[in-house]
Amino acid sequence: MRLYLKFVAMHLKRSMAYKQSFFMSTLGQFLISFSAFLSMWFLLSRFGTVGGYTLGECMLCAGVTLSGFSLAECFFRGFDRFSGIVKSAGFDRVMLRPRGLMLQVLCDDIEFARLGKLIQSIVMLAWGVARSPVAWTPWRALVLLLMVAGGTVIFAALFILYAALCFFTLEGLEVVNIFTHGMREYGVYPLDVYGGGILKFCTFVIPYALFQYYPLMALLGRTEHWFLGLMPMLTPLFLIPCAALWQIGVRRYKSAGS
């Protein structure tokens, strides 16, 4: 933990070395997710509802997905740009240090420009909370918290998965973006909007629905099963296969080099 904080301080110093560019990137990061919000706002103010959800309900959903994504991105950014580390043989350097590999990759890049995104997603979440028709109780607040935490876990696991794949191939990894950046964009709407097939995929293959659709139903009072609100607690299970693939990848790197 101490080491992690030290890394955080180093990254802060580094980004301060280029102040102008730092603020521009913060603004850029803000704009990227702002456009997701703006398109949602345009569509819903034109049509009123999508798949039966109002703007307030979609905002709540978008706030959860974006907060989960930005939190994961803030901390797991090192995994997100892992292909660069492997390409530039930077992983050799990581292997040469007497510390855990995951911790070092975690520390490799912490980008403060992403705070812009995080703050924005939290604002959206707050707005969604205010605009949504949910009558807030301690239980529902807990569900909301679990949803954000579950989202962070799922996206973090996907970043690890992405990094693990870098050990096998450096080509074609943009497919994984479907599941990270793609989900950030499309996950602003409740998943059943896209039809039953997509919802099934998002339950059993990559379990986004665990932190998004199911608990949202409990929150909006659209289901009688209260336990759906606890579904985000299952998300850590998804870390297991991702971390296992990472381990296999490290073993492969050791035997094949880069």
Binding site: S39, G172, L173
Partner: protein, 270 residues
């Protein structure tokens, strides 16, 4: 081997480079497919509940989405060659002046080659598969032969406008120390305003009627809506003329920035 015109030669190099990464090409196709599909699903959900207020024909919108996915590399704002930024920032761009071709023309050709080669590798499979998909999801044929011809013309003009825009970003490096900031702000704004995320007809009326006359309206918006006949008649002529105008204006502006930047560089001695 015959001799290539220098500009064509860039195209050939980019194509060879692109072909080296075959997994990347397939992955790109698959990714664009998935994104297109998700978009269509979303708009279908909207259409199902709000048919009467839907501002475009659903079939036209579906074609819009598939064409955008197929020609993504041709039309996006983020197709940069990063070494060109470095070249300006380090002053090495002066070395480019030794070559027997003009800098603006050469870089314009490079960027166009990059886009065309990337799109050439990917558009075929996407167009074929999306055309084979069943009714609500599939790519529809163009509205008419005339619309198709106008679409092709407009697509070429869009490529020109987009390249001219990219070159302005390149050459702005003469005046700023880092290109990254400008890029991270300009790219999402352009992407949004040119209709790559939400098509212009779905934006509020006041916004889309303004955007029509800006360079943003002269980008992806034009060819993709011409194809399905969403833009036709007088509006079609007007749109094409606007594209020609913006192509000329942005090329002129880019060339001017380049010219003055180089002059400054030479005076300072790099």
């Amino acid at each position: 081997m015959g001799r290539f015109h220098p500009h064509l030669s860039f195209f050939r190099m980019q194509l060879i480079k692109g072909l080296q990464y075959r997994t990347a090409a397939w992955a790109g196709i698959f990714t664009q497919f998935f994104w297109g599909f998700m978009q269509i699903q979303l708009y279908r959900a909207l259409y199902a509940a709000h048919q009467s207020t839907f501002p475009m024909a659903l079939s036209g919108l579906v074609s819009y989405i598939w064409l955008r996915q197929a020609f993504l590399a041709l039309l996006n704002t983020w197709s940069y060659e990063y070494e060109l930024f470095d070249m300006i920032l380090s002053g090495n761009v002066a070395l480019e002046l030794c070559r027997p071709v003009g800098l603006y023309g050469m870089w314009f050709a490079r960027n166009a080659a990059l886009r065309v080669s990337r799109a050439a590798l990917r558009c075929g499979p996407i167009l074929i598969i999306s055309a084979l998909l069943p009714a609500p999801w599939g790519l529809n044929p163009p509205a008419s032969w005339g619309a198709f011809a106008a679409f092709l013309l407009s697509l070429i003009l869009t490529l020109g406008v987009t390249c001219a825009m990219t070159l302005i970003v390149y050459f702005s490096c003469f005046y700023t120390l880092s290109s990254q900031g400008l890029r991270t702000v300009l790219d999402p704004v352009t992407e949004f305003l040119n209709g790559a995320i939400v098509p212009l007809p779905f934006m509020p009326a006041w916004l889309s009627s303004v955007l029509r006359y800006t360079p943003f309206g002269a980008m992806v918006n034009a060819p993709l809506r011409i194809y399905s006949g969403d833009i036709r008649g007088m509006e079609l002529t007007e749109t094409l003329l606007l594209q020609v105008f913006w192509l000329a204006a942005l090329t002129g502006l880019g060339w001017l920035i380049q010219h003055r930047g180089l002059k400054r560089l030479c005076l300072q001695g790099g």
